[in-house]
């Protein structure tokens, strides 16, 4: 069957150092960095290699932790200072799930969906996260294993606050949707993977509306794991720490947040007069097949581009390529050469949003998709911040005999990598995200014109 067109009719989320999506938009297109020193990491002194993050404090998102009287340092519940989420829903949610619910409320409000439409069997929820509910788990297991507390002191809300699909489950219970409720996990491609899966469910007629996205709730465990791998940025001022493509980049900035979108079958959205923010033209995902858990592959990424655009390369040629661009030495260079290999070296610009807010792991693809929608709305593209100096020499791997890409160094593509926001006509954007396990995801979205 011919796939249905899918419209984006609402966006929302939790963005570091921002109290609203409007503030997020204005900061992104004003070339601001949302990265700060993270007090929670600093607390651990020399045990930590990196201490910078794009994060949102409880205070900043209007939440308050209520400690359990039965357990040590265990959050019995998070209270919402602004009464946005009913207490019954808060009781089953960890921090990331609350963010998912807040983002959903904003996205649904923007979509104009009625309660009847939301509570339909044709409305689903597809939201995932990179990690489990680490913060709740750590404190639970510490009380049980180390402090010898009885299981019942955990109460009834340990499982629902740590289970893999807790974000989707909490959102579905909040909005009382009756369709699909699932999560997709694909490491740092999770955010885009969930949106892509939701797109397919609508495109192939299984659902009419879906709340989709990716979440990464604040978690020292996630940060520590990557810090242990020595892959986090260090040695720069916070706002300079994330620097995709720059010759001095030395790792990514581990960040936290949430991105949520409301998707709807295009014809249904059009018929009800919805404000269509963007149209998804296609989604494609694959694996490198290299057998390598971590290393990126230009071969896998070329197949990704071919799968995404195929015979429609010219018709769907993007004005902006929103890259994964993590600020890691190998990944950025291969990704750049892969884009150039497929698109050539003119007619588009590259946007690297992690340069401004770091890498939100399971939320990254969704938050960056939200930003792409904002780019279409504002007709501005966010920059490759801090890409100050580019390598003028070929990368080591470019000198290998079987390297299939360009022999030109990163610096040859300066014109594709703006250091400031660019105002220009933007009708189409390709978003790219990759994850451990050699998984690759890509979406192409357009302005509804």
């Amino acid at each position: 069957m011919k796939p249905r067109k899918v419209a984006v009719v609402g966006i929302g989320g939790i963005f570091p150092s921002c109290s609203s999506i409007d503030e997020f938009s204005s900061k992104m297109f004003a070339d601001k960095s949302l990265i700060r020193e993270w007090p929670e990491a600093i607390l651990h002194g020399k045990k930590m290699r990196s201490t910078v993050s794009g994060y949102t404090s409880l205070e900043e998102c209007g939440l308050e932790e209520v400690p359990s009287s039965l357990l040590v340092n265990y959050p019995e519940i998070f209270k919402d200072k602004y009464n946005r989420i009913p207490i019954g829903n808060l009781s089953t949610a960890d921090l990331g799930s609350i963010w998912a619910m807040l983002g959903t409320q904003d996205a649904i409000k923007m979509s104009g969906w009625t309660d009847k439409e939301v509570r339909s069997e044709h409305t689903g929820v597809v939201i995932g996260s990179g990690a489990g509910g680490n913060e709740v788990s750590r404190k639970s297991w510490h009380n049980f294993f180390e402090l010898d507390k009885k299981t019942r002191y955990l109460g009834s809300h340990n499982v629902d606050r740590v289970m893999v699909y807790r974000d989707a489950a909490n959102v579905s219970c909040l909005i009382q949707s009756k369709g699909v409720c699932e999560c997709i996990g694909s490491a740092c491609a999770t955010g885009l993977g969930n949106i892509g899966y939701a797109y397919r469910l609508i495109a192939f007629g299984l659902q009419d509306r879906i709340i989709a996205g990716g979440i990464e709730g604040t978690s020292m465990e996630s940060f520590i794991g990557f810090d242990a791998m020595q892959v986090l940025s260090r040695g720069f001022e916070p706002e300079k720490s994330s620097r995709p493509f720059d010759i001095d980049r030395n790792g990514f900035v581990c960040s936290f947040g949430a991105g949520i979108v409301a998707l709807e079958a295009y014809e249904i959205a059009k018929a009800r007069g919805a404000n269509i923010l963007a149209v998804i033209d296609n989604y494609f995902n694959n694996s490198d097949g290299s057998g390598d858990m971590f290393a990126p592959s230009i071969e896998g990424q070329q197949r990704l581009w071919n799968g995404l655009l195929g015979n429609n390369r010219d018709r769907l040629f993007p004005d902006v390529v929103k890259v994964h661009g993590t600020s890691t030495p190998l990944g950025d260079a291969i990704e750049l050469f892969s884009v150039v290999n497929y698109l050539g070296d003119n007619g588009y610009h590259i946007s690297a949003p992690k340069s401004q807010f770091g890498h939100m792991l399971g939320a990254a693809g969704a938050v960056e998709f939200v930003l792409a929608v904002l780019m279409l709305k504002e007709q501005k593209m966010s920059p490759c911040l801090n890409s100050d100096r580019l390598n003028e020499q070929p990368e080591t791997f470019q000198r290998e005999a079987d390297w299939p890409g360009t022999k030109e160094p990163v610096a040859a593509f300066r014109h594709l990598l703006p250091r400031q926001t660019v105002a220009k006509e933007i009708n189409r954007i390709v978003c790219l995200n990759y994850g451990f396990g050699s998984t690759n995801s890509a979406v192409v979205l357009s302005r509804d014109i």
């Binding site: 209520v66 009287s69 519940i77 207490i87 009781s91």
Partner: protein
């Protein structure tokens, strides 16, 4: 400990259960059902029981927790069974 004293302490516990509206705790009787009258999710019962153990410095047997009902009277019965067991013979 009298039933009234136990009830007052259990009401104090209920005030810390966030899914129960404190306004509903004004006219509690022994027949008040935590689930049907106060609107608490059934999953809160274990939370109330655990908080009762802490409040009264007692530890229930699992069999007794399995059999507990959801009214204030049921909870008072369980608490007094253990509190009275604790009191030394004169």
């Amino acid at each position: 400990m009298t039933r009234e004293e136990a009830k007052d302490k259990i009401v104090e516990i209920l005030k810390t259960v966030h899914t129960i509206n404190p306004e509903m705790l004004k006219n509690i009787t022994e027949k008040t059902d935590f689930i049907t009258d106060l609107g608490a999710p059934s999953t809160e019962l274990v939370n109330i029981v655990a908080k009762a153990e802490e409040k009264f410095s007692i530890e229930f047997e699992d069999d007794d927790i399995d059999d507990i009902g959801s009214t204030m009277g049921d909870t008072i019965d369980l608490v007094l069974k253990y509190v009275n067991k604790k009191q030394p013979a004169l």
